[in-house]
Symmetry: C2
């Protein structure tokens, strides 16, 4: 059956990938949570801020006292205190009074706004006890963060499915979460098959090649937040492959078979998957180029993917299909959204032809031009050469219904 | 001196940051090298590929034998062997002969091209010994990777300064590098100053706030490839700060002072830096908003940065100034290039005003629209609120010479 599959579209393949359930939750130290996904709603244990606080260095005032103040019509208030940043104010502002306050300081009773220090002038050397000239009016709550403006007690501060960026980690810290419940990172078993393969440390005899795919695929898995678990080189026979596959499936959340490139290996991969308990081949071929011979299987509830043997093709398949799967297993609701891709607009330097009926991913080298979008050069050369992906900054996508792209067209280059 | 600095432009600040030398080299396992930067040229120890190999599954031929072949004018060759993927071919192709070959297989003597299996038809059940119909012509080297096409012995395969993506890791693996010489990752000491600060695990009394900045800044440092080393909360006095700073400088390649927000802390930071041996304040204020009160010092050969106290401002300063510094310390030649930023074009939903003379970074929430660039909504709310950066997908940059951006304008949103 080699070479002839029932090809499905990328969208159909993605629908199959979405069928795998996200992983379960685990408790993780907040310091280890960057880029990961909240398993449950994060409920605020208290209001945040706890009290009204100043956003600026300046003077706490009652807005009524500075109504109409301006450069040509300043107001004058008596400064009754310089408030300490770490203590509750022990004063009450009376009409005509103000208090020195720092960014983050708690507003005293009687104050409802802050005038920035830049819009004030102390009339005496000593600030406390002296008169402050106020050159700008303030409305109530100007430069003041109100109680609960960031989070309300018992309300959802961050919903399940939130990807934790540094700012979300900051909010979780503000609310006192030292640990946090996240969807597990998928452990991804990586098997390289191929009788011609040798370890990276070995010296190839003519005809042998080093195991490039394990390293490339592992780096990609890590990039998507997965935990790569390499199983090394597996011999091209059903027994070796079956044994290694059974182990990898038992020990991981997903398995990538990669590296073998001989014709028989694809059939072998299918046979090995089908020989597992509760296994099914879900797809055998996808209408993308490179990447057509990709295999998707299910063993129990776990995905098993057979990647094309050439590393240049495997890289595209991992970017297009596997990285979204790994984000999906981590609970990222945007896993399959193209908005997750980092794209740059560039101008094609030459025509690029494409066969309709499949989505083409063309390697592109960008040439920066001042004041203009970069020029996008398709990288020429045999598809299997590593050089062609090393020289590329990204990929241009040619939709399945297109016969190609024209020179000078502005296209989105997916930076990879 | 609080509140009044000599403000320099972002470009001037960057020029000062470039003055710090990249770190020294270290030897790293190839599996740990993703995203890092080559310290020295990677010299190929041998040609790669070692021999001419097929890029496709098909038949190895001599191009002369299939000259002019086509669908309506097929050629016929005798298949003399099915070549093994892991062995050198032990045959020589004579005129009129071909051999079955797999992707990656070594070409036998007498062959100079490969015809893809899709363009052939076996005339008998047994392939070896049978006749193969060839339906497409081939030029010499068609579907063949030639010896040394990826890398030539003793030539530079990857130059110093290359950022290692999965594909570069693949090339290094192909050439047999189990270990690789990379520029060190900077260890970055993080000090939070502020008498109002408490640990994330503690319960705030009114007036106290948890140490948000350490966690946020540490996550950002890691994002840039640095190794964050948190020193916890430091009291707002010169002795405590000086002692902590001396330790952090001794133990790290760079130090970030962060978290304190009271007015006096900025002066304290300057004094503490100046009190170190061989120290100099290089900048005190930069024309970006938020981020104006940023301090840059040099102690020995190490950079020390004082970040604004509000986490929302600190986040912008780290993105705009610190992450490029950390990439620069790691030897990334593109560290300060805006091409490193992931940008999305979006259409502004409303006018955004800006003060000329400073570069403004406006928080933007994107609203996706099918078939159109997303709508960019400036996030409203007090600048100090964490909510404003949690709700934002990115930042719009308003240049220093602009008074603002107009609604409907297409702008680049920097995804952060």
């Amino acid at each position: 059956m080699h070479g002839f599959f029932t090809i499905i579209s990328r969208a159909e393949f993605e629908a199959l990938l979405r069928g795998f359930a996200p992983l379960d939750a685990e408790t993780v130290d907040l310091a280890e949570s960057a880029g990961r996904v909240l398993a449950h709603d994060l409920i605020a244990p208290h209001d945040w801020p706890l009290l009204a606080r100043s956003c600026m260095d300046g003077f706490a005032v009652n807005a009524r006292d500075v109504f109409g103040a301006g450069e040509s019509n300043p107001g004058y208030l008596e400064c009754v205190a310089a408030l300490s940043i770490d203590k509750l104010p022990d004063i009450v502002l009376n009409p005509g009074e103000c208090a020195r306050i720092a960014t983050g300081g708690v507003l005293p009773e009687g104050a409802d706004a802050v005038v920035m220090v830049e819009h004030t002038q102390a009339m005496q050397d000593e600030i406390v006890g002296g008169t402050i000239e106020i050159r700008k009016s303030a409305a109530p709550f100007d430069n003041v963060m109100q109680r609960g403006e960031d989070a309300r007690k018992d309300a959802t501060a961050l919903p399940a499915g939130t990807v934790l960026r540094p700012q979300e980690i900051g909010l979780a810290a503000a609310l006192g979460f030292e640990e946090i419940s996240l969807v597990r990172r998928p452990r991804v078993g990586i098997l390289s098959t191929g009788d011609e393969l040798i370890e990276v440390g070995a010296t190839p005899r003519p005809g042998q090649v080093r195991d490039v795919n394990t390293h490339t695929v592992a780096a990609l898995v890590e990039q998507a937040g997965g935990l790569p678990v390499p199983y090394g080189i597996i011999k091209d026979d059903l027994e070796s492959l079956g044994r290694a596959l059974a182990t990898a499936i038992a020990e991981n959340d997903a398995v990538l078979l990669s590296g073998g490139s001989s014709i028989g290996v694809r059939d072998l991969t299918v046979q090995a998957i089908e020989a597992m308990e509760d296994a099914k081949i879900l797809a055998h071929g996808v209408a993308i180029s490179p990447g057509k011979p990709t295999i998707l299987g299910r063993v129990g509830k776990k995905p098993v993917l057979g990647l094309p043997g050439q590393v240049t093709s495997a890289l595209v398949v991992v970017h297009v299909l596997v990285l979204p799967l790994l984000r999906h297993l981590q609970g990222d609701p945007a896993a399959f959204s193209p908005t997750c891709r980092c794209l740059r607009k560039a101008q094609l330097a030459r025509n690029v032809a494409s066969k309709p009926g499949r989505e083409d991913y063309v390697r592109i080298r960008l040439e920066e031009r001042p004041g203009q979008p970069p020029l996008a050069h398709p990288v020429l050369g045999k598809s299997g050469l590593l050089r062609t992906i090393v020289q590329a900054h990204g990929l241009a996508t040619i939709p399945a219904d297109s016969e190609g792209l024209y020179a000078d067209a502005l296209v989105d280059i997916w930076i990879v």
